[in-house]
Symmetry: C2
Subunit: 725 residues, 2 copies
């Protein structure tokens, strides 16, 4: 007994030291120290450290010369500046609601002025009142506040009686991750698995909502699962399977420990590390290759306004959506005038359900934006690899839980892309014998962000083409969420389906999962009053004697009257085009001007619509939805997504079946992926991409890039290998 | 009467001069004079002219130093050399079948040795017997001949009793196009429309087969429709609507003239010309941009063998398929050995049905490979615009109707592409706090051809990724086939559907049509004996009490036993993965090695399956088919496609329902497009692209590009603007 007591004592001592050490270690990358001069009541806040600044200066071309402390907003949609964040922080600190209370700020962003105000605002006009929208939890209760920064006025917004909690703060995630180490039972479990506490890495896993426990109704819950870092940076491949800690996210108290997989070995570390430093160096199979622009890039970035070719738009980082693109306008080559295309577009929610119903897995049905903050998870981009040369990098400024602003450097990049594609071409054939060969290269502008939501990496692109097309693309890379198993070879497996995935390596199963990325596209096609037209492509049989043909296909236009007309499930054998038109604006020959959404990357959720995760992710029940503009309908999974019951989703809003003809419309599109992992995804996944397009359809009078010149030898750069090579 | 006679006389004189002039003018682009030293009996064959050699030397970087006259085959699949073509020509000329007969060679290509012979052949081995496969028509009858070039032996191959005719020769097309000018009624019709004969441009339109006329059964027919070139190079936008000439393709005799659209005005030429020289010069909105490789490209081309990164394959131009890729192998990063992926892949057929059942349009249901020769229509690529710098260009050598070889210079290009995409990446998030940011740029190798089948341009890419993925991509550009109309504004139109398309400009309708591109993919996944596995992704409901989840999705593997199991119609709500596996080869952990086809660019034909065009295009009845390897099953629409009845299609072969488990398999995939034209497609279409992928699935033990290095500043080029800029 004495010996056991001693051990326990040693554990506690060790754990405490370790916990302290890890808490310190476990700080987000934040190379800037901006915001750290504020006299916060945190002696050493995580966002002030620059201890872990990546030390590879030769690969960091972009020297951020923006100090941000002197940033001033110039556009109604410009995000809060460093100074504004600080004012908000001090307004809150001194406000009655917060005084003498425990509170955390789950979101501090610009409260955008009313759409009409922004639409009528012109450069040179005074800015509309600058307000912050703050989501705060005070003594366990959520408040949505509108803060007039100049007038220092705080207004509480009514949100109704919604289940669920606001997006986690980074502090929620980091402290929750390590909280189990304060629990001796947990530590014993870890050691019993043969893992040293120093080799432990844990992840905070949103617990969803299942209606199966009373705890769910009264507590903000999170589940923690852990991995061994021993011998690899890729701890994700070394799960301590079956060990799940249920934690009270508010008190960080361990509520329950389930330890069911003791017989499952932790997969070995061999061949899991993906870092270049861990590889056997081999000669590069591909010579250096680079996109070069001898006269520099053709775009300009003025604060948050990006101009390129015929395009102009406002771009800002957002802690929840990642990137928000607003006021997208394109120049009409005929009139020279800028024409509206989209008021605003962003990733409204991501839904990632895993397909394993067993105890340690069933709850993994992530909502990456509403639970984790998609923008908060966007890490600094790696110049020359995440984005090519000549890219421009934009920083994000976000607030920590206490309101202190911090800078996420190089969070978004903007670059021109040319991969050898062709904008348009025509050669005359030998049949006509005319000597024509006209070809135009295709150059595009890409806005990119890469979010690393724990293991997974999402590469989020908005690609603008000179012909008026916008391609919205998602690349999936990063690391699989894997399951430990005692199997080392498929010949031991009787019923393959019970793996719920693929055996990727000895003792490692890649579990089947889906990804759904739902975009909110507030389209303003040449004005705000639009209609949604479903152009059905249908077989028409001919009448007897009408034609030697028995059939042909025809296009039948159906204008959607109400929301239910615009709940679209795509069908290969009942195809349609999906147009958003301005019924009041016609082309010269009388077609309504429009943009169409061109689906791509389609996968439909197959979960039972009454399954709790699918109810929460009900915004994936259709691939396309159209709703009337409503400033409270931003987030497809609801304002408070964490642990909610799905009563505030796009599916619920749309069910009201409001009129949508000739209204200000919002279109929602969901990109989907079914992912059955394969061995090539181990230990890190080659990127898989999908995209959909917003494409002009009778928006222009004719091909808008008819006048584009071809490439000419004399304009291209003269290059040589770098002397350092 | 005298006056009329005089007019008629003048017409005839004029027409004769004009016809001569146009025949001379109307010669295909052929910059090389190779083959013209042969003592043919054509005094001035069209392929010998270089009158219309494009005169823009500054934009032609690729100086073809390959004279071809000394070409020697080095690989069993190498195409016929110039010398071999000439030998074939002389063997034919002196052969009994051809002596004293009118004949035309519709196809002269290498007769590929048996697959097994090619598979066992190794570099250094003597080449298998060189043979030519010739499709000839002699006195109106088609013959398929096998010609042993060395032994000068001619063998006739039995083709059975097939309807249809061989692919047209270029001479068929060019002479047919201008033949109506020998008909006075036709000329009168043209003049009556107000078109000068000198402004006339006509197109040869394959007539299909409808079973509605006796002529179809006994005559090789073609329809000719014409346009006015007055004021524009883009005559396609100026149709002489409703005037259709039915021609006997053998005698070039006019069989019938239908002239129904006299009241329809010819659309104006304004704004139709797309040539750069015809534009109002505007400043370029985009600065010069180029893919630069300071150490040059990383691929090698040795005759027809291309090697790049881990890939090796054989590449050759083909008059019918365009480009044929063979013996595709990839190096296993684990063992260092080359492993088979695909024996051969090419575009087997294109089916382009237009959706207008009226008299002048119903028959437009093109088969671009089997009727026109997709490779024959591939024009020389435009360096710096069709393909970026550092591209390698490959010439095609084809035979004219009399067997004389000619060179299609720069028909195919090969280049490395980098557009800023990411091969794989991972950053560690603030949650775990590890300082990791590993990103690898994505560089690919593209093989490109661009075919201009009259108005339309198809950009055909085979893109190889370092991670083992092959992307097969089609870009559609070029010019719409439009219909004249008396409408100038949609407000005149009562029943929109009766336009059969979109009013694009005054008097111009872009007619709805589909494109189907069917690929024959003779996969050899790590060996020739493969199985096709449909991995169904299905909802599984949980049992009561099993899980808080009601449902999840699971993957159910179904091995196809016979062909009908592999006739696949894609369904969004009944999704599957489609694997070709080698059931005899397992990974270390026991998964069968495989490749999957990842559908993309899906559109299904909606025509009635009993409609004559759909019977002929029945290979589009499914998106995927798998057949056992059969060397007679190459062309999805049949060996003789022109005017056939559809009795020799993939659909017919597959209906035999042969066993396909653990066999040498051929997979067929059809990319589809529904095209409802829009004004942006006028007067030339911005490229629309679609693609599908062949992707390794447990083919490699793990991510094959784990060891790839990141970009480093020191390796990238130093560039400056050209002094000439």
């Amino acid at each position: 007994m004495e010996r056991r007591r001693l051990l326990r004592f040693l554990f506690l001592i060790f754990t405490s030291i370790f916990l302290f050490f890890l808490t310190f270690l476990n700080l987000p990358y934040s190379p800037s120290t901006a915001g750290c001069d504020s006299s916060g009541n945190h002696p050493s806040p995580w966002y002030c450290t620059n201890r872990f600044l990546l030390k590879s200066p030769t690969r960091h071309l972009h020297k951020s010369t923006r100090h941000h402390s002197s940033d001033v907003p110039h556009h109604p949609l410009d995000p809060l500046t460093l100074q504004e964040f600080k004012k908000v922080q001090s307004i809150i600190k001194s406000h009655a609601l917060f005084r003498n209370s425990a509170y955390a700020l789950h979101s501090v962003v610009l409260e955008e002025p009313a759409k009409q105000t922004v639409l009528t605002w012109q450069k040179g006009d005074p800015l509309p009142t600058r307000k912050a929208s703050v989501v705060a939890r005070v003594n366990g209760e959520a408040h949505v506040l509108s803060i007039d920064i100049g007038a220092q006025e705080v207004t509480r917004r009514e949100t109704g009686h919604l289940s669920g909690y606001p997006m986690m703060t980074i502090e929620d995630m980091t402290t929750a991750t390590w909280a189990p180490l304060g629990n001796a039972d947990f530590n014993r479990s870890i050691l019993a698995r043969g893992v040293k506490l120093a080799d432990l890495a844990c992840l905070p896993i949103s617990s969803g909502w299942y209606g199966t426990s009373e705890l769910e109704e009264k507590m903000r819950l999170i589940k923690i699962q852990c991995y061994s870092m021993e011998g690899t940076a890729n701890f994700y491949m070394r799960p301590i399977e079956g060990l799940t800690v249920l934690l009270d996210l508010d008190t960080k108290r361990v509520v329950e420990i389930v330890d069911k997989g003791k017989s499952i070995p932790i997969p070995k570390s061999a061949n899991t590390d993906y870092r270049f430093s861990a590889q056997n160096k081999q000669p590069n199979l591909v010579n250096p290759i680079s996109i070069e622009q001898p006269k520099g890039p053709s775009f300009t970035v003025d604060d948050h306004i990006v101009k390129w070719a015929s395009w102009e738009f406002h771009l800002k980082p957002d802690p929840r959506a990642g990137v928000i693109i607003s006021r997208v306008k394109v120049r009409d080559p005929g009139t020279g005038k800028m024409r509206n295309v989209m008021y605003q577009g962003f990733t409204s929610e991501l839904f990632v359900p895993y397909m394993d119903p067993t105890d340690a897995w069933y709850f993994k049905t992530y909502m990456d934006a509403g639970e984790y903050g998609f923008g908060l998870q966007a890490m600094p981009l790696d110049p020359l690899n995440d984005c090519p040369r000549n890219a421009y990098y934009m920083d994000g400024i976000f607030a920590a839980g206490d309101g202190t602003p911090y800078i996420r450097e190089n969070m978004v990049c903007i670059f021109e892309s040319y991969g050898g594609d062709i904008g348009w071409r025509h050669s005359e054939s030998p049949i006509t014998g005319m000597e024509i060969r006209e070809v135009r290269p295709k150059v595009t502008l890409v806005v990119r962000m890469a979010a690393s939501v724990a293991n997974y990496d999402y590469i989020m692109d908005w690609e603008f083409q000179t012909d008026g097309l916008i391609r919205i693309k998602v690349g999936l890379s990063g690391i699989l969420m894997v399951k430990g198993t005692s199997y080392v070879n498929m010949n031991e497996v009787n019923q393959e389906e019970n793996l719920y995935g693929t055996l990727l390596s000895e003792n490692v199963i890649g579990v089947i999962h889906d990804h759904y990325i739902t975009y909110r596209l507030d389209m303003d096609v040449d004005g705000s009053e639009n209609s949604f037209v479903k152009v059905d492509i249908k077989r028409q049989e001919t009448s007897p004697g009408e034609s030697p043909r028995k059939s042909y296909i025809k296009a039948v236009r159906n204008v959607a009257k109400t929301e239910k007309d615009a709940q679209i499930k795509l069908k290969l054998y009942q195809p349609s085009e999906f147009h958003l038109i301005n019924p009041a604006k016609m082309t010269r020959v009388g077609n309504p001007v429009g943009y169409k959404v061109v689906p791509g990357g389609t996968a439909a959720s197959l979960l039972d619509v009454d399954d709790p995760p699918q109810k929460r992710g009900a915004f994936t029940n259709n691939q396309i939805w159209v709703t009337p503009y409503n400033e409270t309908e931003y987030w497809a999974g609801g304002l408070f997504v964490y642990q909610n019951k799905g009563e505030d989703t796009l599916a619920v809003w749309s069910e009201r079946d409001r009129p949508i003809e000739n209204k200000d419309l919002v279109m929602w599109y969901t990109l989907g992926f079914h992912h059955i992992p394969c061995q090539e995804d181990f230990p890190i996944m080659p990127t898989v991409s999908s995209s959909f397009d917003l494409k002009p359809v009778n928006f222009f009078e004719s091909n808008p890039i008819l006048g584009a010149p071809p490439n000419d030898e004399k304009d291209l750069p003269i290059c040589k290998a770098s002397a350092a090579a």
